[in-house]
Symmetry: C2
């Protein structure tokens, strides 16, 4: 079973959390892939360089100057630090963007009412190449950048990258996808960690949406989960770092 773990900014930015995550990830036996967001580092750097960050519905609007900064932060600083730290834990990590080895081909998002700029929507993941890298004993570590094979790097949502890699790997091996974020899973009451929903399927998802329990930022994440499952991914879970502990059953599992 290939384990694909996506971590967000909250894990990367808190040294203690990151250190705990890296140990847990290193301890996962068998093939694995890490996908990481960039978090606040890019947003913090932008104003220092005189660039104003723009967001729409939680997604970044990427002009050329912003793309340069996210390329520096995601593919440079964050990715290489993670790779170096995983290497120290005995994981033979290889840091990648979607341009590297042409692993994630995307196209610039079509402009509708909103122009997201250099934002990429994924067309194709080269699962065969990633399988070959894994067969060499490597652990790919992906930042949230793709390319259009016409020379343009594109900023792509890290959750979406994790889901599409999981789908792209499914013809080659059984895949488990883990979304690791700040909460123990999907909660009935966001203020009560005890209100964890252990399992969500398509039907209960509809009800949870209607009841307003799943809303805003969780909607695209849930969409990614269901698309991964429809694309052949065997197991999809959402939770916090505890999800990576062996024998801990605290997470939300998404099923079709």
């Amino acid at each position: 079973m290939l384990r694909i773990v996506k971590i967000g900014g909250n894990v990367i930015e808190v040294e203690k959390e990151l250190s705990k995550f890296l140990s847990l990830f290193a301890a996962i036996s068998g093939p694995k892939i890490l996908v990481h967001g960039g978090g606040k580092k890019a947003s913090n750097l932008l104003p220092k360089l005189g660039i104003t960050p723009h967001m729409h519905n939680g997604r970044r609007i990427t002009d050329e100057a912003t793309l340069e900064v996210v390329t520096m932060v995601y593919a440079g600083l964050v990715n290489k630090k993670l790779v170096a730290q995983l290497q120290s834990l005995g994981v033979n990590a290889i840091g990648m963007s979607g341009a590297d080895a042409n692993s994630i081909l995307a196209h610039k998002r079509v402009v509708t009412d909103i122009d997201y700029g250099y934002a990429g929507d994924v067309d194709k993941v080269d699962g065969k190449m990633l399988t070959a890298l894994i067969d060499l004993g490597l652990t790919p570590v992906f930042c949230a950048l793709t390319h259009d094979k016409k020379g343009q790097l594109l900023n792509t949502n890290a959750d979406t990258i994790a889901a599409t890699i999981a789908e792209g790997m499914s013809p080659y091996m059984d895949v488990e996808l883990n979304y690791c974020f700040e909460l123990p899973g999907v909660l009935k009451n966001i203020n009560d960690p005890e209100s964890l929903i252990p399992k969500i399927d398509s039907d209960s998802y509809k009800v949870l949406q209607e009841d307003g329990i799943i809303a805003t930022g969780m909607l695209p994440k849930m969409k990614n989960c269901f698309e991964a499952l429809k694309g052949g991914v065997k197991i999809v879970k959402i939770g916090n770092l505890n999800m990576l502990e062996p024998n801990v059953e605290l997470f939300t599992e998404i099923i079709l």
Copy 2:
């Protein structure tokens, strides 16, 4: 024959030169590796972030804040832009630092009269892993960063990285190393491009040094050339972009 090409800042920073280089590099048939410096982009960014660049004998002194910036610029911005552009030319490039796939192991330079900070001296190149990547049809593109396998990234001179990769690959295939810089090769008179020295061996190198023709910045480059040759590299050449044109014999070849 594996062709390893090192390009410096002068090629990266001038769009027309970069575009010419990329076409010539893409046209090289057979296995190849690109090694690139970072040029002035890091030096330009440092003061914007309130960091003062420090140099000693043409080598950067790398404190923690500077290491973060060079990691962003070398491994992020410069490396990924090169990879994306090579992909558009049909080269299946994969961008790497020495931490990626544990390809270049180094140690922090021992402090003597100068403390270079997070500067790395290379211990070992994993030629076997790089050969496996090349066998997958990939073209590694290296930035000038290494690691110590204890979690620390290290800033390493790009000329030295090119030479040590060339040495590390020599047990696996015949290697040609090309240093591509702003001059057509080693010149008798730096102001006269016609004064190109077509061939330099250990003996003539001594004379050129005594005569002051080879001095300052050229000395470590020449040292890298001779060390590569002693390490089993078959061909070592210094020149400008013309060196990459087929059937152009304008360069300085270094022989033992």
